[in-house]
Amino acid sequence: MVQEGDCVTSLADANGLTWQTLWNHNPDLQKLRKNPNALLPGDVILIPARRLRYEDRPTDQVHQFVRLGVPAKFRLILEQYDEPLANKRWSLTVDGKSYSGTTDGTGLLEVGLPPQARSGRLVVPDEDLQYDLSFGYLDPSDAISGAQARLQNLGFLDGAISGQMDDGTRDALLQFQTAHGLKATGELDDPTISELEQRHDNPHSQPQPESNDPPPEVPGEEDQPEEVVVDEAEDERRFQEMAQDDEED
């Protein structure tokens, strides 16, 4: 059962899988949620068993294995009054580790994060902005809480995220619909959900939404080999383990 703060990436990491493997194992969830990065608490996700993968490697070398799916990504476009906050310095602190950089011409900042990262603080000193970010807490756009969070991020909602369709949310929806040429219903209807996703979840320079086709599955165990350097001591240890296994057989 999905808990608040979970997404496919964090759940895959916690279970030693790639997010593609986990996502492809859940076709029913794919039908329900087209964005694997935004799940709703209570969603049911099936965790497949891990499969061992064997890789033949020479015994007199050290091999480094790189785990797929790590780190997770955080990508954010910063705008002010619909114009990108381009070339602005930013710093992000997550679990005591600091990241920093400068937004690009579209206001985009991008950084790798631990898949289990839950909270962080983003500071944009040039604009005197400071945000406490909750990673993985954005619900799907067709849930009221997800719409509220997106309306808040886009500057239409000042109130708290209640998950309830209250007057403040209706007013924010009306504002959003009016601002984007939609029929002003004050309801979370399909055109509004689609526009919210377009404005919040998708790169503005690429208006087509992300494909819902499942990503290619990665076969076998989650660790993929990549030869880099030699570590004779480690190879010796593994050789001893294998020899011991053979004796037991």
Binding site: N35, A72, L76, E79, D82, D128, G155, D158, T178, G181
Partner: protein, 216 residues
């Protein structure tokens, strides 16, 4: 900004898979709402000008809408339709833009940070509000809005006109003109942004334009 929890803003965002093309977006903005109202207004000032018009369907059974054009320096023109009588725009403090609707262009100027209306009980505050509601204090040929803080004949005339207008009566009569009323959101991200100045470059909508909307 002080390192104070009350000053920080909470935001829910997505943690993204490595190959994901999704993003998160934060737009630091409050929204200026422009209401179109009957002038002289009905007793209920929240009543929209276009509600009674656009609530009806046209001859083809389609919902009636009004097209508008919003032009802000440095940004692409926005051409949209409204069906409620309210337009939502982004306009930073000190910013200017031109809104064209009903064949009338309105130059909108937003007050700079920290600029607010004076209190309702001061003469200055009363004059500022009258001016924004279309009861201008300037005399013919006068350039300045005529907001002096002094009690004078122009102010008295404007107050009488306001009181006369806001009495029960039908809307859309022969003397009805179109005016706009500005609202603003106070946004914790943007402390002190409290005011919107609205001024029209060419005043009133022609009766012909109104008729075109009311009786297509």
């Amino acid at each position: 900004m002080a390192d104070d929890a009350a000053q920080r803003l909470q935001r829910r965002v997505m943690r993204l898979a490595q190959e994901s093309a999704f993003i998160n977006t934060i737009n630091v903005a409050d929204r200026v709402k422009i209401h179109f109202v009957w002038f002289p207004g009905p007793q209920d000032p929240s009543m929209s000008l276009v509600d009674p018009i656009l609530g009806a369907l046209d001859a083809a059974g389609n919902e009636r809408t009004v097209e508008y054009l919003w032009q802000r320096t440095g940004l692409p023109d926005v051409r949209r339709t409204m069906n409620t009588g309210t337009i939502v725009l982004t306009l930073p403090p000190g910013g200017k833009g031109t809104l064209t609707v009903f064949d009338t262009s309105w130059e909108l100027t937003r007050a700079a940070n920290g600029v607010t209306l004076d209190g309702k009980t001061t003469m200055n505050g009363v004059q500022q509000r009258l001016d924004r509601l279309g009861y201008h204090l300037r005399t013919p040929g006068q350039v300045s809005p005529g907001i002096s803080g002094a009690e004078n004949q122009a102010t008295e005339a404007a107050v009488i006109a306001f009181q006369a207008d806001y009495r029960p009566g039908p809307v859309g009569g022969p003397s009805t003109r179109l005016f706009i009323r500005g609202e603003w959101n106070s946004n914790p991200e943007l402390p002190g942004w409290l005011d919107v100045n609205l001024s029209a470059t060419n005043g009133f909508v022609t009766q012909g334009a109104l008729d075109a909307v009311a009786k297509p």
